[in-house]
């Protein structure tokens, strides 16, 4: 929570000036009843009957003047508040975006993409609105209330005491209503979220729901959830609907009491009629401000809830210690280094040949409670070797290769690259050395060249085209009309196979020393896949290549094939070796090619 206040740091001046000008406006407003009081005393005095209207005009001019000064100071305050709020949200969004980008993979998994996006958009907007309203009103309303009480004291101490009591009662009433109501509203929101999810499910699952003929059950569940929502709303409404009537009654009863005592004071000559009217006006002012204040509390509460959610993201990104978090302009590099997944050592950047990769008794668990996703993996890939990784769904193939660029940390054991522990390596240099082609082929809005330069920002067109050729993607580039053809977000204007080949090219542009192809030829036909593998073998340099696949054909020619089964190594060796020694491998092979006898290879 405190963390978010930092973003107001650069707007200290505005944050002071906005409420100050609001206070100024409020002060002028507080003078109005005094002017009216003297006016009433003047006109109700028998002596002034029939006299000139000079005093009345002076009072009128004073009222207009107060209005103009109030208008000016209020507009000024609005500007400063808007300035601070928008500046706050810009800096907040910047840092939040930066933090989200600095999360490591397991944190991304835990948080979920849609949550991250709502934090960035809806929550930041709510927080911005909160800051804005806070600066505008939070001082104004209490100031008017306090001011009205103080003014009452200047008029008459006894009546002012009544004011104090009434204000105390009002605050207690409003506070109690809020306190009861806010958790109710939160519940209503969660009910609403539930029926939203349910509705969306019913649409996306229309076929399944109809096929299983469970429409009526689903409808029943929905109607129950809907009824719960409504009874929650009505329950919350019972409390929140109390706010306006209750405060109104309290204030007006107070006014009645005030006038009763005022009468006695007047009879004793301690008050004038005008002053009684002034007290009456102050009481009414309190009512108006109190309602505004109550609404403000709701807004602020919402903003605080958003702020909490945002802070949670920061806390996650900051890891254990809070100091490490960057707030100002410290570079991302520092932040990446500070996330604890990477140390300070770097890989030799001059060397373009492959790195050796060694796993020593590596285990990986995604959740503390879950079983191991990888258990006791040990192998060594020599520099320049091609390693095939094969196994069934959920056997741990992707988990294994994700450990190489340090996307996840091994729970036990160590991963060594060129003999250096991954944890000790600088994250940036490690990632620069590893070219990854993820399972999901995603490209970004922009030109093909923009996309391919992700691997190396200053790559020449020739370098890019080399990579495109290796990835067998020349026809994709040609079909789209050259490297400067525009791609839509996600690469939607490409087919799956086209997208996949471009993501391979993207990984190749930086001439990575380790290349990881994570099931990245699934959308390619066999001929293209074969060509790709041949091209990779004949690169001008020799990276260490990891090919993850479900297809035996894709890994058959690898120097070493690691067969995974349920997170464990079921066998390591060449195709020929594994066919005789590894049952799992043979089963996979036969499931795709049939038994050797039948087809004779």
């Amino acid at each position: 929570m405190k963390r978010l206040f930092r973003y107001l740091k650069n707007y200290r001046v505005q944050c002071v000036l906005a409420p100050l000008f609001k206070m100024l406006e409020a002060t002028f407003e507080l003078f109005v009843p005094l002017v009216i009081a003297s006016l009433i005393d003047y006109i109700s005095a028998p002596s002034s009957a029939g006299t000139g209207s000079g005093f009345i005009f002076r009072s009128f001019a004073l009222l207009i003047a107060l209005g103009i000064v109030g208008l000016i100071s209020s507009c000024t305050a609005q500007f400063f508040a808007a300035r601070a709020a928008t500046g706050f949200s810009r800096e907040l969004r910047h840092d939040l975006f930066k933090s989200l980008l600095s999360l490591d993979h397991s944190q991304i998994d835990n948080l979920g993409t849609s949550t991250m996006i709502t934090r960035m958009t809806a929550d930041v907007n709510t927080a911005q609105n909160g800051v804005n309203m806070f600066l505008r009103l939070f001082l104004r309303s209490p100031f008017i209330v306090a001011g009205a009480v103080i003014m009452a004291f200047t008029i008459d101490t006894r009546s002012a005491l009544a004011f104090l009591i009434v204000v105390a009662i009002l605050f207690a009433a409003v506070g109690l209503i809020m306190k009861l109501n806010i958790p109710m509203l939160r519940k209503v929101q969660s009910h609403l979220d539930r029926i939203l999810r349910f509705t969306r499910e019913n649409l996306s699952g229309a076929r399944v729901i109809r096929a299983f003929t469970v429409e009526e059950d689903r409808q029943k569940v929905f109607e129950n959830a809907n009824s719960e929502l409504v009874s929650g709303q009505i329950r919350a409404g019972r409390i929140s609907g109390l706010l306006n009537p209750l405060t109104y009654v309290i204030i007006n009863l107070a006014i009645v009491v005030l006038i009763r005592t005022g009468y006695i004071q007047v009879s004793r000559g301690m008050l004038t009629t005008g002053q009684v009217v002034a007290l009456y006006n102050y009481m009414s002012q309190i009512l108006l401000e109190l309602i505004k204040f109550a609404n403000l509390v709701v807004t602020i509460n919402r903003a605080l809830a958003s702020a909490d959610r945002i802070s949670a993201v920061f806390a996650l990104a900051d890891g254990e210690s809070d100091e490490r978090a960057g707030t100002g302009n410290d570079s991302l590099i520092d932040q990446v280094n500070a996330t604890g997944i990477s140390g300070g050592r770097t890989l030799d950047t001059e060397n373009t040949e492959g790195c050796s990769v060694e796993f020593k008794d590596v285990c990986l668990r995604y959740h503390k409670e879950a079983d191991e996703s990888l258990s006791h993996i040990s192998f060594k890939a020599e520099a320049g070797e091609t390693i095939g990784i094969i196994g069934g769904t959920g056997s741990g193939k992707t988990s294994l290769v994700n450990l190489i660029p340090g996307f996840y940390e091994a729970t036990e054991g160590e991963v060594l690259i060129d003999g250096i522990r991954v944890d000790d390596l600088d994250g940036r240099s490690l990632k620069a050395a590893v070219g990854t082609v993820p399972q999901k082929a995603v490209l970004f809005a922009g030109t093909i060249a923009d996309n391919l330069r992700w691997g190396k920002a200053d790559a020449t067109d020739a370098e890019i085209m080399d990579a495109v050729r290796v990835a067998v993607a020349e026809d994709v580039v040609d079909a789209k009309g050259g490297l400067n053809a525009e791609l839509e977000a996600g690469g939607r204007n490409l087919s799956g196979g086209q997208r996949q080949r471009l993501t391979i090219a993207r990984a190749l542009v930086g001439s990575p020393r380790i290349l990881i192809l994570d099931d990245s030829s699934s959308a390619l036909d066999n001929v293209t896949d074969r060509k790709l593998r041949d091209n990779l073998k004949n690169l001008g340099y020799k990276p260490t290549v990891f090919i993850v696949s479900q297809r035996s054909a894709s890994v058959r020619d690898a120097d070493k094939i690691i067969v995974l089964d349920d997170g464990e190594v079921a066998g390591i060796g060449t195709h020929a070796e594994l066919m005789t020694t590894c049952d799992v491998y043979r089963e996979i092979y036969e499931s795709q090619f049939g038994k050797e006898e039948e087809h004779g290879a």
Binding site: S74, R90, S204, T213, I234, T393, E590
Partner: protein, 617 residues
């Protein structure tokens, strides 16, 4: 098919729809809303009654207090009065004061009752609309669901319905009381003094014009802001959605600098929009202050005039107490004006939102269901001369004929877009044929209820949809009464058990909407398990194993085979290895069946099938 990929639902977009919503459309919507409200006639009557009570009492409070102040003036301000006169005035004063208190309490009580009643009316109306909408979705043709954006439909049922409720609630509470307050104030003011009333009536609407002026000027600024916000959200969506790739390529800084560029622009446009729109309040407050000052000026003038006895006969006099009433009214009078202008736009919005919701309710449902049911289905399936197309002039399936005996395994193969999945859509009656007929056990499927037809089929689709809830809930989807043992047995048979036992809470693990935390293959295994728990007499497997590796597939093949034993089965697959053992293989191309026969015969004939089959090696 439109898919909703965004994680949240945007608020109902009014700007685009308001123009699309014609005058007649608006009238029809209002009619529909009123029809729904007519069920609450009694409640509405109570609400209106309470509004009248609350407004009249609200206006009475300052009047009574004004009388009391006049009393004070009379006793202490003017010439000295004798004791009996003073006693008379004070009795009247106290009565008025007590009346003020009583009226204040009445205001409180009536307002509260009105609030409760209005809540009741709106929330229940919206609840019924939502229930109807969801029920309607179940009978909407799939064509409607497939051809409309799901995000849009959801946003109509949730966000639009909510906004409609808000608008209606505001309309109820504020429009009526607002108008009543204006009329009531006018009435009481006119009774007190015409000239001062004129001042109030002339000046107050100024605040309305100013508010209108500002909002029309700021409209463009808000548009710019929302465009830039949209641009930023798109970037966030793209980059955060693929954060892993961004990180893998060390692109954080480049992405951040692009983000900052939009962020800077957004800050500027937000500042403008927020600042200029926030001028409304100070400006209307200023108008209010001017009105107040003018009332004080003219009112005081009249008080002096009446005190000096120099009043003309045309204008009634003014007492100090009445002046305080006027001042109180001057303060209150602008409020309903500002509120009503807010209410009008809110109501317009509410009508637009309601129209969007009603569009769903008014969408043509599926043709009415037959009352007959299929019982103890044996599994004869006959397709006779069927024509079908999704889009009227782009024919897809023409003159399709097919005759399947019980227990036969039918594999459907062919290139993408040849109509394989369409056949499934027709068999399950997700879509109706354009021409020709489909029969099960000799009965045309449009003569039996959809429920009985569909529950005769077990279905596994390529698209892996799971409901929110636990793993076990999902396996029990079609058979809620299944025991834990049966669930686990089914999971073991499908091969899902091995990954389920590795999940944090095993069978009680919650899976997100769409099963976000599971891989495609795992979701598909669950979809298979779901069917295995309760296997109907016929089966449809549409790319049921497309996301499962071949070895796992081979393992569950056995389970599939036992599942298909004695059941008519339709299997759509890319991988030809999985369909080699089918009794009948239908080779489809461009909506026609071009080859038909078993594996061996088709392979020997050297046609399209053998071409397809051999290309995979």
């Amino acid at each position: 098919m439109a898919l909703d990929t965004s994680g949240f639902v945007p608020k109902g977009n009014l700007n685009t729809d308001e123009s699309a919503l014609g005058r007649t459309g608006r009238r029809a919507t209002v009619k529909a809303v009123l029809a729904r409200l007519s069920a609450f006639r009694g409640w509405i009557l109570v609400s209106l009654l309470m509004a009248v009570v609350s407004v009249v009492c609200t206006l009475q409070v300052p009047i009574r207090i004004g009388y009391v102040i006049d009393g004070i003036c009379l006793i202490f301000g003017g010439e000295a009065m004798d004791e009996t006169a003073v006693a008379g005035v004070t009795t009247i004063m106290w009565r008025d004061l007590i009346m003020a208190a009583v009226f204040a309490v009445l205001v409180g009580v009536s307002t509260y009752i009105m609030n409760l009643v209005n809540n009741h009316i709106t929330y229940l109306t919206v609840r019924d609309i939502r229930n109807d909408a969801l029920e309607h979705i179940n009978v909407l043709p799939l064509k409607y669901i497939d051809s409309h954006s799901q995000g849009d439909i959801v946003s109509r049922i949730i966000a639009d319905a909510d906004q409609f409720a808000d608008g209606m609630l505001m309309g109820f509470t504020q429009a009526f009381t607002g108008i009543l307050t204006i009329l009531g104030t006018l009435f009481f003011m006119l009774r007190m003094n015409v000239a001062v009333t004129l001042v109030v009536v002339c000046v107050t609407p100024l605040s309305l014009f100013i508010a209108r002026f500002i909002s029309s000027r700021t409209y463009k600024m808000f548009r710019t802001q929302s465009i830039e916000r949209g641009e930023q959200t798109a970037l966030i969506d793209e980059m955060i959605g693929n954060a892993k790739i961004v990180k893998a390529f060390n692109r954080e800084e480049e992405v951040l600098s692009r983000f900052d560029e939009i962020n800077g622009r957004l800050e500027k446009s937000s500042l403008k929009a927020i600042f200029y729109s926030s001028l409304t309040n100070p400006c209307t407050r200023f108008v209010n202050a001017v009105c107040y000052a003018l009332v004080a000026l003219t009112g005081s003038y009249f008080v002096l005039m009446s005190a000096s006895g120099s009043m003309s006969r045309l204008v009634s006099g003014l007492s100090v107490g009445t002046l305080t009433v006027f001042l109180a009214y001057a303060n209150q009078y602008t409020k309903p004006f500002n509120e009503i202008s807010g209410v009008i736009s809110e109501l317009q919005g509410a009508v637009a939102c309601a129209a969007r919701v009603f569009e769903i309710l008014d969408a043509e449902p599926e043709s009415p269901d037959a009352s007959d049911s299929l019982i103890d289905t044996e599994g004869y399936v006959d397709v006779d001369n069927v024509d079908f197309s999704y889009v009227a002039d782009r024919e897809l399936i023409t003159d399709l004929n097919l005759h399947i005996k019980p227990g036969q395994r039918v594999a459907i193969v062919g290139p993408t877009g040849c109509g394989k999945t369409t056949i499934i859509n027709l068999l399950m009656r997700f879509y109706d044929t354009d021409d020709g007929s489909i029969s099960v056990d000799g009965r045309k499927i449009d003569t039996v209820s959809r429920h009985s037809l569909r529950s005769s089929y077990g279905m596994v689709l390529q698209e892996t949809w799971l409901a929110g809830g636990t793993i076990a809930d999902n396996i029990r989807f079609g058979a809620p009464q299944a025991t834990d043992e049966e669930v686990i047995a089914a999971a073991k048979a499908s091969g899902a058990h091995s990954f389920i036992r590795r999940l944090p809470d095993r069978y009680d693990t919650l899976i997100g909407e769409g099963g976000a935390s599971l891989s495609q293959g795992q979701m598909q295994l669950l979809c298979i398990t779901r069917v295995m728990l309760n296997i109907p007499p016929m089966l449809i497997l549409d790319e049921a194993t497309s996301s499962i590796d071949t070895r796992t597939e081979m393992r569950i093949q056995k389970a599939f085979l036992s599942m298909m034993q004695g059941r008519t089965s339709f299997i759509v697959a890319h991988r030809l290895s999985t369909i080699r053992e089918a009794d009948v293989i239908l080779v489809m191309r461009d909506g026609h069946i071009i080859e038909q026969g078993d594996h061996e015969t088709l392979l020997k004939s050297g046609g399209f099938y053998s071409e397809l089959y051999n290309s995979q090696f």
